[in-house]
Symmetry: C2
Subunit: 308 residues, 2 copies
């Protein structure tokens, strides 16, 4: 099955303790598409300016990403600059220039209106809703952020009613539900519409909730995180990519998809921008999947000799 992703394509400038890079290809749709492309065919819907070159498109084309829905308009591409602190858990935004992205109205190519798997990247909930209505999809996943939770909570709740999986980070989940305990928070979110909630916890891994299941996994242990930008979208790309490729949506497949998402995210942070995924082989991906099994496995061998 194929995937449609709607989100941002941007030029990211990033400074981390490991170095500094200017105007790299980035954005939620880019990172998602790069990761998902390792598993299945991906179509991308986004907007860029006249400064977006063939060289930039070639990075996505090299991964077979369908760019029919990549609209190019007069003006400059979305630009963002961030500086990460010493432990990479904190970041400061230096600037956000929306540029052509400010007037983004997703235009879906006819071929994209039937997309069995749809990922609504972190854009305004009204745009997410509009896209959702136009696509005949089997499985829809959504990302959002604290900005929309605070600014447009009602619109966001409308979108939550028409999606299947919410992929969100720890603080956002607690904020959306107004509940500090994560287990209670996700129970509240499941009442809002999605039948699954995936909570990303950075260096602590990720958890997945449904009404009758719970899955928890650690992050891949990493000594050097060069650039965490796009890790969440890369996770979503690996997750959705695996599901679409196998056309499976049962609990066991969702769990394997969580691992593939984490595998892709762990590679993404090993270099700046999309550099690592550009060089990645599918063998690397499966090797790291197996490493995840190795670092989490324990025998189900209960101790039966009770002394009192």
């Amino acid at each position: 099955m194929s995937i449609l992703v709607v989100g941002s394509v941007a030029f990211d400038s990033v400074k981390t303790p490991f170095g500094e890079r200017d105007e790299m290809l980035g954005g939620s749709a880019t990172h998602f598409a790069m990761a998902a492309s390792f598993f299945t065919n991906v179509s991308l819907v986004a907007v860029v300016g006249t400064d977006f070159s063939e060289k930039h498109k070639d990075v996505l084309r090299a991964r077979n990403v369908n760019l029919e829905g990549l609209e190019q308009v007069t003006g400059e591409t979305f630009r963002w600059k961030g500086v990460y602190g010493y432990d990479l858990n904190t970041r400061e935004t230096i600037y956000t220039h929306l540029n052509v992205f400010a007037d983004f109205k997703p235009k879906l190519p006819e071929s994209a209106t039937i997309s069995p798997f749809l990922f609504l990247g972190n854009i305004s909930p009204d745009l997410q809703l509009e896209v959702r209505k136009q696509v005949d999809a089997k499985l829809v996943a959504l990302d959002t952020m604290n900005y929309w939770i605070e600014k447009t909570p009602d619109l966001l709740k409308e979108v939550l009613k028409v999606i299947d999986i919410l992929i969100i980070n720890d603080e956002e989940a607690r904020e959306l539900a107004r509940e500090p305990n994560l287990i209670k928070a996700t129970k509240k979110i499941l009442q809002m519409g999605p039948n699954r909630v995936i909570v990303k916890r950075g260096e602590y891994g990720a958890v997945m909730f449904s009404q009758d299941s719970y899955f928890a996994m650690p992050a891949f242990p990493q000594e050097d995180v060069y650039d965490p930008t796009g890790a969440g979208d890369t996770f979503a790309g690996g997750f959705m990519g695996y599901l679409a490729a196998t056309n499976q949506t049962d609990e066991a497949a969702m769990r394997r998809a969580m691992i593939y998402g984490s595998v892709m995210a762990s590679f993404n942070v090993e270099a700046f921008g999309c550099d690592r995924l550009e060089q990645l082989s599918y063998q690397d991906v499966n090797n790291r999947f197996r490493q995840f099994k190795e670092i989490t496995h324990f025998d189900e061998l209960v101790f039966e000799k009770k002394i009192s």
Copy 2:
């Protein structure tokens, strides 16, 4: 195999969002012994005052804990009071009255000098060292805290040379190694002596490092944490209890022991003080061990169809 634990026995007063309790039986040795007693025979070495009653001893006796090494001297028992914040991750110490614990010189009964499994609870490193020298042990685990890392780093490093497993929390590991990245920090700690380091991460679970292995596990998902006091010592008790009971120290057994430690800690926080472990059945323990398998399991089924 049997276990010897040296640490504190105290009266804890605790306030959490779920209520307030005064002068409950607590202390590192108490929580450790209660948990380990579900797996094997435990001897406890600690000191209490004249206010420590038969009723208190009966709680430990009910779990078959050997109290031959529980010295009772003139004066008051160690008292501690703490208040936990709304999310239970922060706590404020209201008072710490060491009382008879201030002059604690562990006195080992003759029978305790041969104890195949030894746990050195969080006391001064010079006392830990003294006990370590007197015991003929197969496996020695150690707990410590930021106070000793800051006040007596050289003494602590002496102890680290003569133990097998350091059980420590996330911030303490980073502080001990003076390294913000946890993977790098534990590599440094492994150079200091222990051949294993277990890092407790509260609601995020725990990880275990050796020179050639890494294991990561989530915490048990809990909506209501009534009282986190003693969770770390309870973890250590379940961990060491399982190893001693099975007399296994290989990687696979260590991983199962991590799960049993987490199982015991997850029960401990469900009620104040030792209340939950007093009521616990061994069937409860094994049921939760199986639940840990259920919430962490995924199939090792890699995706082989690569499209590009």
